[in-house]
Symmetry: C2
Subunit: 215 residues, 2 copies
Amino acid sequence: MTQPSFDSPEAVHIYFDFLCPYAWRGLELADVLRRDHGHTFALRHFSLVQGNHPENAESRHHPVWWLTEQQGGGSEMLDESLRAFLADKAAARQGEDARWRFALALLRARHRDAASLDAATVQAAANQAGLNLGEFEADLEGDEARRAELRSDLAAAAELGVFGTPTFALPSGHAAYFRFANLVPPEGALAAWQLYVSVLESDARIETIKRAKRA
Amino acid sequence: MTQPSFDSPEAVHIYFDFLCPYAWRGLELADVLRRDHGHTFALRHFSLVQGNHPENAESRHHPVWWLTEQQGGGSEMLDESLRAFLADKAAARQGEDARWRFALALLRARHRDAASLDAATVQAAANQAGLNLGEFEADLEGDEARRAELRSDLAAAAELGVFGTPTFALPSGHAAYFRFANLVPPEGALAAWQLYVSVLESDARIETIKRAKRA
């Protein structure tokens, strides 16, 4: 099948994990930029469980333990993130807007409303996003295909050196983890984004700005 | 004795270690801001050897192993950084400008010219900075007083949660590690600094921007 247009090379790729509250805030920011300012983003997955797995400690670029090779019955974080990723891949088959509605509904359920990423929460997010539920279920049944799509994201993230979420990868090749604690109101979205891009594109070649935390 | 004026509460405090190449670039940037734009900075020390010491792994806020309690004969990094810190404290007694000249001469010797931070390099930096060498030697002999000054910096850094250098602590209370790979030319200094301050003061409460590195 052809790639949907929102995976175009001009898009900013966002690597995220449903487990991560900063990914939620990052996607809310991107959604404003997408809807109000015509920016283009491709949603991709990075797994914190895989990235932090002891068997992958030697190199973030060459994982040996893959989330996509796991079955259910692991840790809660493993099970919940794998379920959410596969559901998001199924939702993505219903078009860009439906997929954004689903991803945001699931992130809000987890991080705004403190729900678990269990089957009922996934189902509620699919409802809220207005997905065709029959198609959604059928695509979820296509587990191997969804896993292959997820694996492709995880491999791309590893090659890029992603280590946390959200990571925004610009078409220019710059990519960085961008963690902020406050939800950005719509009127502040463009300024926050331009600040991030300015840091990455500065001639100083800024590698890290990381806040110190008092005891 | 009274605090010199450059430790005024309105100053930006820079925590740095002579071992660190990013600290060198940070001090070069600050020196341009200081000389060309009237900014005020207070130079303070953070020890990477202390910060990364296994005995301090439990909390960066409450170190149990202190560089200031060590004698010579440790690792090369320990010996060189302690020597440089104590020499810098001695140089600071000759006024702000002399101290900046000394700190920059020593950082350039180490990171631009790949010298060791040995006694000869320290002596050459003192010469180059135009220090009164008799006073400098006498102040270096006052080892316990210099160690107490160093300890005060290391304690302040621990309280602030400093974990790398350079860390710039603004009078407004914001403080972050600011790592960039390229020397900033004088005409770019103000823009680079304003970018850093804008990140820290953004309403989004940005905690981290950290570049991903490809394999």
